[in-house]
Symmetry: C2
Subunit: 441 residues, 2 copies
């Protein structure tokens, strides 16, 4: 009997992070880090896992979007699908009725990303390899075949992509060994959430330095006077050689960003992240020109490869921040990595949330081994929340991500965590006070 | 007792338009024009209506997204809300958890648009006026107060917006009278769907000319040789003075668009619509430079005011095609009308689908009376489907939209139509053949 995809199990899982203001920033004051979590099962009895990362309310919309993808997948032959994941990506992204709901952006695109990532998780599990290694072992042509070059060919052709990968091939073995021994650099955001007091920030920055981090990020964008004071305080703590980046989480207009960065500049900034709308390619370009040599970084809210193409080709960003769960999964992120390589822009992934560190580390490690060939000027974001809920959590030591060794993409949640945080049935959400609130409303 | 918003009634309504290939284009081969339709009711017993327009599968995702907005609205005081619809817009669009699901794009943004439009429908019904007239009667300051200038201020400030409106104020009475007497120009897409035979296109173009249309649009983008032949045929039919525009529905890359338009140019094109990805501001700019004086038009898939800002400010488009249901409703569309006025770009709305003509006519008529002050180089798209399902359908005569006279935004569907086309319970979807298919699958 043929081995086919059977059914999706989609679960709304929410963690009550807002109770401690973990993850608070100028745009997102009280996130409850959450996931629309999908298990894609096969008739052979194994499964892949993926999710849409969300921040609480509305997770049920992402659940509905994943369910809308299910009929496109159930019944497909598993091995044939895994043998041509470029075709699988197009099958989902080009489905015309669902495409109207983006197109190629927002909830529908993220839901497709969750399913694409789940199928990659399955592919890596079946190959018995961590995802980064599965990807790094593909030939340049196999990688090119994963990419949909529609809308990219004015910036990157399949031939150029293959040449970039071929040029990186000679050093692959050495870099794979280096990665296994030394891991990949990280920076930390755990110290600088907007809702934290100065004293808490100071304590956490001290701990980060002691843990081996040399690059910390602070949230800004609510009150510029607070931002100036806090950046100066952190500069004192990290010393002249420590790197400080700031993240405005889209709170500023173009002129406002330029003015505010000028006020923060005396504290010595490495990058300014999301200074304005993630859709504003020309705005990012204007800001980048005005604040150089401080770099502009963005990407966690960049909807797809077409916006990334423009940001990269027009030199509007100097740091590209891919996100594992915003675009349509592994394939589209590889397209973005290729664009970044073409235009010489380092990729420093967005992570944190729930599970974003787990998945995205594989993409940076693939990039290092098989494409960019360097970790110079590159760090994966690290936030120390919620890793305990994963079957194969990230391991960060001495300010570096250690290379995952277990098969898969590290996206699988522990079944006990799913049961406890499932919304609204899980025990976390059924605490007496919450039950009372629901009955009153 | 205070008058409050009570509950939403959200319905999945689908029309089986794919059975006749009405609406077929190079990207959307078999749309079933559909709506996630919302009734926003009040404790006073009246209601407003709005919808997310979709093309079939996935409508249930838009339904879920509208339901996610419901808790933000239910319980609000109706009159206080109607008195400050700028604040209401921000309340929905800036809700941080839901915003993550865009941000400000895709299904979640469209769902907010449906709710915003429904509340405007209610406002116009309570005012006893068609929406276009309610909007045109607002003062410049009241209109400016509807707009969120976040991310716009580098291109348009509140002062500039007010000045544009004040400059247009003197002729308002004359234009209102002209509009009531003569209506607003239309162009037709009904003749040129991609799935139609040449003979059917020829017959329908002949009928359109007889009906008074002087501007027709053809779908292109599947096969360039077919496109060249069909454009030449239609040029023969409309004569040297008729206007022909073409719509590629995002099927081309940048270089491909430039090459293909060069092949179509001998037939004399007015605009080329959606030559490539709607997110590609720089790509549209490159195409516009290459194909001038043929104009580039886009907008029906432009996610929000930030992308429109860039397309307009960088002269990447020469025709702005607002859509009533893609962005976050009336407020955001007025922001886009103001940006278009600032940069001197005519607005020719996207319409068709189901109900898009009904709503968007109000926005063009407002634009004419209170802002642009002209219909020169402007036409509202007209497609002759599905109007019979609306309580106050558009009236198009002699190639012109007649000004609506009934109170509201014309978005309300007939209850009998909702019952018949409701998915999957409605009788249209319960026909024996369909029931059989469902049982077999």
């Amino acid at each position: 009997m043929a081995d086919r995809f059977t059914a999706f199990t989609v679960t709304d899982v929410r963690f009550p992070t807002s109770r401690e203001l973990d993850g608070s920033d100028a745009m997102n004051a009280d996130p409850d880090y959450s996931a629309a979590y999908v298990q894609v099962a096969t008739s052979a009895g194994d499964a892949g896992y993926g999710f849409v990362f969300t921040i609480g309310r509305g997770t049920e919309v992402a659940v509905a979007a994943i369910r809308a993808v299910e009929p496109l997948v159930v019944g497909l032959d598993v091995e044939a699908t895994l043998a041509d994941l470029g075709e699988f990506w197009k099958r989902l992204v080009h489905e015309s009725h669902l495409r109207w709901l983006g197109p190629e952006k927002g909830v529908m695109h993220m839901a497709i990303g969750a399913v694409v990532n789940a199928v990659w998780d399955l592919a890596a599990k079946r190959a018995g390899q961590p995802l980064w290694q599965l990807l790094a072992d593909l030939t340049p042509q196999q990688i090119v075949d994963l990419i949909d070059f529609r809308y990219l060919s004015d910036a990157l052709t399949p031939d150029e992509a293959r040449q970039l990968l071929e040029a990186a091939a000679p050093g692959k073995e050495v870099r794979r060994k280096e990665l296994r021994e030394h891991g990949y650099p990280a920076y930390t955001t755990s110290a600088g959430w907007l809702g934290y007091s100065d004293a808490k920030v100071a304590r956490l920055v001290g701990e980060a330095l002691a843990d081996g981090f040399t690059h910390v990020k602070l949230k800004v964008g609510a009150d510029i006077d607070d931002d100036v004071r806090r950046c100066a305080m952190v500069r004192e703590l990290v010393g002249p050689d420590g790197l400080i980046s700031v993240d405005a989480n889209q709170r500023w207009d173009v002129a406002e960003a330029i003015e505010n960065v000028a006020r923060l500049a005396p504290s010595g900034l490495y990058w300014v992240e999301e200074p304005t709308s993630p859709d504003d390619v020309l705005g990012h370009g204007a800001i980048a020109q005005a604040i150089a040599p401080i770099k502009v970084a963005t990407g966690e809210n960049v909807a797809n490869r077409v916006i990334f193409k423009q940001l990269l080709a027009s030199h509007a960003i100097q740091v590209a921040q891919i996100d594992a769960c915003r675009v349509a999964g592994v394939n589209e992120n590889i397209a973005i990595l290729l664009l970044a390589a073409k235009f010489g822009v380092p990729v420093c992934p967005h992570a944190g949330g729930v599970g974003l560190c787990e998945i995205v580390q594989h993409l940076s490690m693939f990039d290092f081994v098989a494409l960019s060939g360097t970790t110079q000027g590159r760090w994966i974001e690290y936030v120390d929340h919620l890793h305990e809920h994963f079957v194969d959590p990230v391991r960060v030591q001495g300010g570096r991500y250690l290379a995952p060794r277990q098969p898969g993409s590290s996206a699988e949640l522990r079944p006990t965590s799913v049961a406890e945080y499932r919304f609204p049935e899980g025990s976390t959400w059924q605490a007496p006070s919450l039950t009372l609130l629901k009955e009153e409303s």
